[in-house]
């Protein structure tokens, strides 16, 4: 009799456990997720005026003016072969040279790229093989040089466009 009672009790406990285990309900929600290609680039501002005002006696090459006070930042998730190109809005007269160097931790920097004649149709590569990710506050270096034989150049503005592209 005692054994029967024990078996019945165990049976009851098992049923209670089963009831607990099945006391649940589920529902599902469908999510559509996507991450598009993102290319972003920004510069910190404009460099100081690049003014040539000195030279070495006997040399046609005047002393270059430089500026490395500005920076650029990028974020891209497209791929590992992204590059940055640079171009001017209008070419410089013959005898004047503007070069640019972009530091990079995510890609391969090409130093001192001459962009004097690089317009939108002929933009020059300045950083290549950029890996996916972000590269913040990287230095932009400008060097402006001139030949004495080219004469003076009245103050003029040029717009330098940096483009991140694949």
């Amino acid at each position: 009799m005692k054994k029967i009672m024990m078996v019945l009790m165990i049976g009851s406990l098992s049923l209670m456990s089963l009831e607990n285990a099945f006391a649940q309900a589920t529902t599902s929600q469908n999510l559509t997720l996507a991450v598009n290609s993102v290319y972003k680039i920004a510069t910190s501002g404009n460099p100081a005026p690049l003014t040539i005002s000195s030279g070495t006696a006997g040399s046609d090459i005047l002393t270059a003016a430089t500026d490395n006070s500005t920076t650029y930042s990028i974020t891209q998730n497209f791929g590992n072969t992204v590059k940055i190109t640079a171009n001017l809005d209008a070419v410089l007269p013959a005898g004047y040279t503007l070069t640019i160097t972009l530091a990079s931790t995510k890609g391969t920097s090409i130093p001192n790229v001459n962009i004097s004649n690089a317009t939108s149709g002929s933009a020059a590569n300045v950083v290549t093989a950029i890996q996916r990710g972000a590269d913040a506050n990287q230095a932009i270096g400008y060097s402006f040089s001139a030949l004495a034989s080219a004469g003076t150049l009245a103050s003029t503005s040029r717009s330098v466009t940096l483009t991140i592209t694949n």
């Binding site: 009831e19 999510l31 559509t32 996507a34 991450v35 972003k40």
Partner: protein, 162 residues
Amino acid sequence: MKKLTVLLALVVLTTFALQSAFAQTAAQTVTLEVKAVNKISVSGPVSLLIDDAVPGAAGLVAVSNNASSYSLTHNGSTTGKVTASINTALPTGIKLEITLVSTLGTSKDIQDISNATSAIDVVDNIGKGKDASQTITYNFSATPEAGTLASVAKTVTLTVTN
């Protein structure tokens, strides 16, 4: 006097008869039971798209959606909880988080379900009662290193249990 006696006899007999009519009873056994009931539903699908970044920022611009909601009913003797799971894990660098508001229980706040193919708790200490139209918030974020993600459907399963 004879008439009075007859009248009294009639009254007594009538009273007996009435008493007899009201003395009938019937018994019925009614078996009642309320089983443990857990019910949960959601209001609809959700779409999340990342397509922007701040130059130099470590992450792409995250997006959120709190347009959907869930409702539940729970009468269990023990406190209930809601768990969440995703049918397949997201790629490395892509994160999906979920937050369920709750008035009947305690929200676990923001929970990362990017890899939660095994369910994780999102609400616990749910008491008996109902919780209707409570907000579900999704946060979707990605690092640029993770690359792009072509539009993909994922199923998030919410389970209410004891």
